[in-house]
């Protein structure tokens, strides 16, 4: 899991410079700071389990096994990208790894995840489906309709809300009367846990519990993972030209920086002698190399041809 977190972090951070330089143009929502959630949840899944994501899904895609080269190529808009340069950062897919798609419309994939769970149940495949969404999506009615139906039909669906306390420019207190997302599933009889989303072991344990609950046919399960994005809503930061225009207070960002999920896990691993410093160094070097190669691959890849504009409208 450490390796996955590092791969995600390095991948995300490698995008910062190309975004600033304008080489990457599509809206890119970095996952930096939230790595423990995608990592912990996907580590509890089997390869055949299914995942749907959001606008901030590089982490979900990688944690579920998506290819990094195809991810970066997609962000650059290249033909070799996972969506062949048609989707960009906000439209990722890795079908054979069970990552069925991510989209930027808030709440857009929640009901699709319900449907995938329904399909799994009807076909008796015992696949568990995961729906990732943010705190912002708790404003959308479709979430509640989905909770209801999933509970009604006892669908194998794990709802994972990544509560990073912001929905673009609005803090949680301005979009909900209470900080109580973990409670929204309860009226539907769906068991729910509220977690430290920056603690990968806690997320993993909770996800395992949820996944086995789903797999045993007992119905859906809900996780609220409390976390923070360490980068901007979209792009490296929300600041304009050196000024602090991020609506989030500097102190708050600093406070969360200290809770960096990777640092946290690293300390744990070292303290308990699960990894040595040299192992960490090796893992980081490998990730660096993978990221570097992925960028190279992306840069060398061709753009889609203008004449192929209308390709893929239909099968």
């Amino acid at each position: 899991m450490y390796k996955t977190m590092i791969r995600i972090r390095f991948c995300e951070e490698s995008l910062v410079e190309p975004i600033i330089k304008g080489e990457i143009r599509c809206p890119t929502h970095l996952y930096t700071g939230q790595e423990a959630i995608a990592t912990g949840v996907c580590a509890a899944l089997k390869k055949r389990d299914l995942v749907f994501g959001t606008h901030r899904s590089h982490g979900h895609y990688l944690a579920k096994g998506g290819d990094m080269r195809e991810l970066i190529a997609e962000i650059y808009g290249k033909k070799t990208g996972c969506s062949r340069g048609r989707g960009g950062s906000m439209h990722l897919i890795s079908k054979d790894k069970g990552f069925l798609g991510s989209v930027p419309l808030v709440g857009g994939t929640i009901a699709l995840a319900v449907g995938a769970a329904l399909a799994s149940k009807m076909k008796k495949e015992r696949r568990v489906c995961v729906s990732f969404f943010g705190d912002g999506a708790t404003g959308e009615g479709i979430l509640y309709e989905s909770l209801n139906f999933a509970a009604l039909k006892k669908l194998p669906l794990l709802f994972v809300c990544e509560n990073n306390f912001y929905s673009t420019h609005l803090p949680l207190r301005e979009i909900r009367p209470k900080d109580n997302i973990s409670e929204i599933a309860r009226p539907f009889g769906i068991p729910s846990l509220k977690l430290d989303g920056n603690n990968v072991l806690q997320v993993f344990k909770a996800a395992k519990k949820g996944v086995s609950f789903c797999r045993e046919g007992k119905g859906p399960f809900f996780l609220e993972c409390r976390t923070y994005r360490l980068r901007g809503h979209v792009g490296p930061d929300d600041n304009i030209q050196g000024a602090h225009t991020d609506i989030r207070p500097k102190e708050e960002i600093e406070k969360w920086r200290k809770k960096d999920p990777i640092k946290k896990f690293e300390n744990f691993l070292l303290k308990n002698k699960i990894l040595r410093k040299s192992d960490i160094k090796r893992i980081q070097e490998e990730a660096e190399k993978e990221v570097r190669e992925a960028h190279l691959f992306a840069k060398r890849s061709p753009y889609p041809k203008a004449k192929d504009l209308t390709k893929y409208v239909f099968t």
Binding site: R25, C26, P27, G77, K78, K79, S83, G85, R86, G87, G88, M90, H91, V103, P104, L105, V106, G107, G108, G136, A137, G139, E140, G141, S167, T168, H169, L170, E174, I175, R176, H233, V234, Y303, P304, K305, A306, K307, D308, L309, T310, V313
Partner: protein, 329 residues
């Protein structure tokens, strides 16, 4: 008076309409996503919260359908709300309350209740934002009885049509294009409104009629200027409202020029271009010197990659070429 005409940015023209109308009419309120954030609505809502408080300027949770429904309900109960969807793509979540409720309301209650609301959707395309963040859906709304659809292309129209929409007793869909936000032009300081349903001739000519919708009106004028240098005189019409459409203005022009090209930033099939050409064919067929034509987006979702985007969107150059082709030059 010879005082220089005051120029204003498109987005600030909308802003001025809000300031003035909220001042004048206490029942006007604005709600929707991102009112506090320039990232969503540019400078259109600048200074509104400071002046009118968060009670009348409500930045909402991500709940498009319920928020639009609530705005419609407030209109039914005597308010004059503006509900904004900072991307028209998000407005799709609210189609139910817009179409089933707002559009039908006045008719299905025999005219006893009306819905004076402005439903404002911003087209925010390009920049590799891909399929769900680039759509232009005006034709969809124009199809629905009971909705008026305005699409201002200049700062002057942006203010005048917003004021008109805010005075109208019916649901008005106000659609603007983010690409227009930095356009500058003459905007009177006073409160004025433009008649909904009236188009305007942007450029006079006799060789061909070009109808440009929203941003395409601007591109059509550019194309017209280029063509003029080559001796082709195009008449450029900006309908400004696509429902109800000022078809008479177009027909009159076609009767003069005998040729028509409609340029629209929406998709081809079922688009507003097809509608205009159908009207022209019905009403001015004998005057046509050659087949009427339209330029529109291909029936393809908005792509992401820059190479595809370039091929996807229509620019003045494409219009120039199409006109020449139509004139056999």
């Amino acid at each position: 008076m010879s005082s220089p005409k005051r120029k204003l940015q498109y987005s600030l023209a909308i802003n001025e309409a809000f300031h003035q109308m909220m001042d004048k009419d206490k029942s006007v309120l604005i709600m929707g996503q991102g009112l506090k954030s320039p990232w969503y609505v540019g400078s259109t809502c600048r200074g509104l919260i400071e002046k009118f408080s968060e009670e009348r300027v409500i930045d909402t949770p991500v709940s498009e359908n319920a928020m639009t429904g609530a705005a419609i309900g407030a209109a039914i109960a005597g308010m004059r709300p503006v509900i904004v969807h900072p991307r028209i793509d998000f407005m799709i979540y609210a189609l139910d309350s817009i179409i089933n409720e707002a559009a039908n309301w006045h008719y299905m209650f025999g005219g006893k209740s009306s819905v004076p609301i402005v439903i404002w959707g911003i087209i925010n395309r390009g920049f590799e934002q891909a399929a769900q963040h680039s759509q232009a859906l005006h034709a969809l709304f124009a199809h629905i009885p009971g909705l008026k659809v305005v699409m201002p292309s200049t700062p002057y129209d942006a203010k005048g049509l917003m004021v008109a929409a805010l005075k109208d007793q019916n649901p008005v869909i106000y659609i603007d294009d983010r690409w227009l936000y930095t356009e500058e032009g003459y905007v009177p300081r006073k409160v004025y409104s433009l008649p909904i349903g009236k188009g305007i001739i942007r450029k006079k000519g006799r060789d061909i009629t070009i109808v440009g919708i929203s941003y395409m009106a601007r591109e059509a004028v550019k194309a017209g200027d280029t063509l003029e240098k080559e001796g082709i005189k195009a008449e450029v019409i900006d309908p400004r409202t696509i429902k109800p459409l000022d078809i008479n203005l177009i027909i009159k022009s076609v009767k003069k020029t005998g040729r028509i090209l409609v340029v629209d930033g929406g998709w081809r099939t079922g688009g507003i271009g097809g509608e205009i050409l159908a009207e022209v064919s019905e009403k001015a067929f004998p005057y046509l010197k050659n087949p009427p034509k339209r330029l529109a987006l291909p029936d393809t979702p908005a792509p992401m990659s820059r190479t595809l985007e370039k091929a996807y969107y229509i620019r003045a150059k494409d219009i120039t070429l199409a006109v020449k082709e139509q004139l056999g030059k």
